[in-house]
Amino acid sequence: MVRFEDVSKRFGATAAVDRLSLDIFPGEFFALLGPSGCGKTTLLRMLAGFETPDEGRILLDGSDIAAVPPHRRPVNMMFQSYALFPHLTVAGNIAFGLRQEGLPKTEIAERVGAMMALLQLGRLGERRPDQLSGGQRQRVALARSLVKRPRVLLLDEPMAALDRKLREETQFELMDLQARLGLTFVIVTHDQEEAMKVADRIGVMNHGRLVQVALPEEIYEKPNSRWVADFIGDVNLIEGRVTVADADGVVVEAAEGIRFQADATDGAKTGETVWVALRPEKIAIASITDGKRADALYGEVLEIGYRGDVSVYKVRLDNGLVMKAAAANTMRRVAQPFGCNDRVVLSWARDAVAVLTR
């Protein structure tokens, strides 16, 4: 559907997008995820036509769209600031794009009405943008860009201005809308939770390049690099050397003397420096009850981060390494199971360990 071929865009000396290639498939909800300044918005703006690539091609349905000005592109964008026309009513804003197509008045009214019903904007038609709440403005912006039935809908940080609760509701609505309309959505966001929740596929960007393009689960569970593992979610990253690497698995020995066993990993060769990635929620934390276990690590709680649903414990192991372990708070209790300076034992399953070669 959309194909970026070796696209580059420079602003002065810095490359906002650097020889990037990407395919986005029809009907897909694709998320471009990255820290601010990684070039994700520039990529989106090139697709909309507000920026022109310095190199490379952008294909839409197989044809190069370089020569097509923004107002002729069959893509629509929902702006981060919403960019609602302050001098027009809600209905006027939504109808703006259809009026440009020169459609008959009855059809415009019909489609605007249908879109307002779809986004539950029912009685707000005659209001002006400054008379709306943030959530309502967001819906109007969404309605305005959807009513043209774009081939691709571009969403630039669409929920950045909403509070958390509203954001979560809107995320589900957006997924529902995308599934119902069967459109291709491309969302730009710096919020990894949002990307993982709404998207079918995520492209993680950094420094103008795609670092990893994969399903949300793959991005989280099988990051292809330290950078992705660290950017997505919380992780313990430990440097070590491969001591064993065969078909049965990999053994990594960290500087502190801990040995991590993991499943066989491509590219991990004996003697090389690698990084072990262990998500805190995959580490079990327990108080020391019975005798020492060989596969477990002992340590002392340094800090507790209580988040309500889970608590994150920072533990200093006896060999000096500090690791984070998360435990779901399955019981209603005010007194936490472990306190600071408590002796605890950490353990994890072998397949929780990811070995990263870069």
Binding site: F50, S81, L84, F85
Partner: protein, 300 residues
């Protein structure tokens, strides 16, 4: 909220100022406009004699007449002056808008350090006396002045064009003098505009010229109205520019007023002219005030 004395004082001082230096003089003008000319000092009758008490006041009121106003309608010269002033005001305002809009737009879109410098340049002419600048224009526009010299040197014209004492000269002077008053309000409203709105319009299928009419102009409307009225109102009553650059064949209302007052010593007619001018300009002034109120409410 409890009103303190200092609050009342802050509000009262400008109102007292306006009452003393605007309302009272205006009432005097209104009174003179209802009087009749006389070969006397002051050159009109009746004169209010407060020493005569109640009888004096009654005699004064009965002696008032609308003769001055009747004269305005009897002589087409006055009507012509008004129409001419309004026409020049409208014409100059239109030219100012056409020149000022692109200028203000470019100014508002210039990146920051340069924008400040350009803005200062727009206001820079105010640092020189207005009168000196108009005298300079007399110099430029005269028969062997800079403009004719340049035109002849470029071979555009063979013989010098008599610019001075024409309506064209008045127009040049007006447009030159009032340009900042047009540019500044336009700049203020264009500068506030979010450029994402222009992108949104393009994204929704509007080509550049349509975006201009459907988004830029409506959003600049407060600036357009403010700038136009800020120019139109004083231009209609303008005296110095038409007097120095214009001819004597057709007069703007300011000149007619001056002649009646100082030339003919007909204070009542001159005052009636002034009151009538105010009545004519009341409409745009009220429009301007309403626009300002709305801009204040909208701006929050």
């Amino acid at each position: 909220m409890k009103r303190s004395w200092s609050m009342i004082l802050v509000v009262a001082v400008p109102y007292l100022w306006l009452a003393a230096f605007f309302l009272v003089p205006f009432l005097i003008v209104l009174k003179i406009s209802l009087s009749q000319t006389a070969l006397a000092q002051p050159p009109y009758l009746p004169v209010l004699d407060l020493a005569a008490g109640w009888r004096g006041l009654r005699g004064f009121v009965t002696a008032l007449s609308l003769e001055g106003y009747a004269l305005l309608f009897s002589d087409p010269l006055y009507l012509f002056s008004y129409l001419k002033s309004l026409a020049i005001g409208a014409g100059a305002t239109a030219i100012l808008l056409l020149l000022g809009f692109p200028l203000a737009y470019a100014l508002a879109r210039t990146p920051q350090p340069a924008q400040g410098v350009l803005l200062v340049l727009v206001v820079l002419p105010f640092w020189t006396s207005f009168l000196i600048r108009i005298y300079a224009w007399m110099n430029i526009l005269q028969r062997d002045g800079l403009l004719n010299g340049a035109l002849q040197a470029l071979g555009v014209v063979d013989a010098p064009i008599p610019w001075l004492a024409t309506d064209a000269a008045v127009m040049i002077g007006l447009v030159y003098s009032y340009l900042p008053f047009m540019v500044l309000p336009l700049y203020a409203s264009l500068q506030k505009m979010d450029t994402a709105l222009l992108e949104a319009a393009a994204d929704l299928g509007a080509p550049a010229w349509k975006t201009f009419w459907l988004v830029t102009v409506p959003l600049a409307r407060p600036g357009i109205v403010a700038g136009s009225l800020l120019c139109f109102i004083p231009i209609v009553g303008e005296f110095v520019i038409p007097d120095l650059l214009g001819g004597s064949q057709s007069l703007m209302i300011g000149q007619t007023l001056w002649i009646e007052f100082f030339g003919n010593k007909d204070w009542p007619v001159a005052s009636a002219l002034a009151v009538a001018l105010l009545a004519v300009l009341l409409v745009p002034i009220v429009l301007y005030q309403r626009q300002q109120m709305r801009a204040l409410e909208g701006g929050r």
